[in-house]
Symmetry: C2
Subunit: 360 residues, 2 copies
Amino acid sequence: MRQIAERANVSIGTVSHVINETAAVRPKLRERVLEAIRSMGYQPSALAQGLRKNRTNMLGMVIPDITNPFFPSVVRGVEDVAYKRSFRLILCNTDNDPLKEASYVSELRTYRIAGLLIIPAGSTDIADHLRAYASASVPVVCIDRVPTGWKGDAVLVANAQGAYEATRYLIQMGHKRLAVIAGPLGLTNAAERLKGFTRALNEAGIAIEPEFVQESKFDAVSGHQAALYLLRMLPRPTAIFACNDLIAYGVLQAARELGLRCPEDLSIAGFDSLEFAKFTDPSLTSVYQPGYQLGATATRLLLQRVDGLRSAPKKVLLPTDLKKRNSVAPPSGVVPAAIEWTGKKKATGGVASARRKQQF
Amino acid sequence: MRQIAERANVSIGTVSHVINETAAVRPKLRERVLEAIRSMGYQPSALAQGLRKNRTNMLGMVIPDITNPFFPSVVRGVEDVAYKRSFRLILCNTDNDPLKEASYVSELRTYRIAGLLIIPAGSTDIADHLRAYASASVPVVCIDRVPTGWKGDAVLVANAQGAYEATRYLIQMGHKRLAVIAGPLGLTNAAERLKGFTRALNEAGIAIEPEFVQESKFDAVSGHQAALYLLRMLPRPTAIFACNDLIAYGVLQAARELGLRCPEDLSIAGFDSLEFAKFTDPSLTSVYQPGYQLGATATRLLLQRVDGLRSAPKKVLLPTDLKKRNSVAPPSGVVPAAIEWTGKKKATGGVASARRKQQF
DNA sequence: TTGTATGCGTTATCAG
DNA sequence: CTGATAACGCATACAA
């Protein structure tokens, strides 16, 4: 700045004024300054600005693991909205490790980030850290899950409702022996999904077999193990609701290893409806979560807070959408409830394979 | 710092000295300072440090799109080694848009990042921007691809060799009509893969049908289109080498739509070997790229530069690994070359389906 | 309308 | 060994 001040024969303060339009500057001078800036390729130091204003244009983004295929779209939604408002992202992977999470969250404060977006790891006292932000009036929005005790802003998906709909669909197809592989129940989204499953069974008057409720991590190998356990029971479940798509892949794999055909011998429904759900064999029926919208919406809310919005904490619930594909069919020999099949091809033993050709 | 200086009855300079161990401080004082720091929960301002030292502990990470399933593992590799050295990541998605890329790259300088990792978009003059970093002695490492005219550090994958091996495998299986769906040839990695394909055909004395070489974007819908085009030709190719897995998914989809069975009617090989390659039907033969290692290696190199390593530019080539799964079989009625099948079940028309059961 | 001066929180130099 | 003190690059209150 000093250099361009000299070049334009003005004071350093004037330069600042034309840059920030913080005072009217005579056109003549103004033009000289602008020209100097252009010709010298001046770029303001984000560091000095941040130090002076005690706030930067950086947003903290704390997620469990970018390698989990659900999160990239969330991050992308965040980045797009942030970019338009010229905010930048510091990305942090916690691996669901409370210590790493706490360390990141507390460290981000030293960067004077303008706001924090976090997909919290399970069962932590991270809420305290987050409240520390609030008391420094740095806004925080939780995404996808909520830490215990968090009363602030959150943008979530209608987990319970989505799970409820998927389960009801399985029930309508005629399944009576339904199992569920839940995610880590310390995570609110996993717990909600299990609730939805339970409610659907209760409403249908189907007793819940405790052994048919398995907890697992949100990944394929863990889902695979749980599925193996379930599928070796007698009588076997005829349908499994996997609480995310990765778990569903593990189930698919387990079924194949045991020589079970899907959907003839076993129906599978997932949660996420990742891009890849279309490409599995059979393609996977799954509850779609709007990941990109999750991130985008959360960021819009966060930036409203950054802009000074002072209203009561908001809890936004985004709707899910059950994507019916080919991994679900009636259990062998069962005619599905009429409601699902009115006007369609007469339900017979051949229904399952007929459906499989129906869509890709 | 002033506060803890007062609390500990020392000067602010001394505080700095005990924090940075930049001078020996008498144990007594030292302990008082440490105690004050602890009790007041002092955290240094990363901003002020950066301003003063004219360098931060942030790394710029510029990628095309985190939503492309190959990149998250790269980013994760970067983050892990950066984290250990307590460097943080500013993540930027360019969408392969040269303007957005240039804007990000130039803006990152204002943050005084310690180094820059970039997966460059195609055909830009971004190399000039990058050299600007070099002349400010901020190290830059290119990952996965290299912009035209870049002579600096780069960590890449043996693209040509990987493509060569995959193609040779197809040839060994007996294919004579091989098509390729290349990525955007403006990207060095796409161009290299095509070279590998070409070399394999040349060595085998198979003429390259110009129509059998299609260029496409690195995504499924674009790959799907190209595949449709190829598969409607007469005579059809019996094998398609897709230059990444997303393209291969598109090919798979196209084949199904046209009623072609894979691998009986069409063999498909991909490049990436994403986690999901195991779950498609049939599972996808693909050239594995060590994405995590790509990121980790690049970051190690970058941090060496940050630490002052002054040697000549390095170009690291990471090896690929052909993962043979079930999407490749001999073309109908062909006995594959003996080399691949010695000691195995006698090759017959039933080979393909026999192989399909063999692995998941 | 323009210039001057101060401080943001550190590090680093240098004198005691 | 310790304490002043001067930058780092910018924004802003205030004086001119």
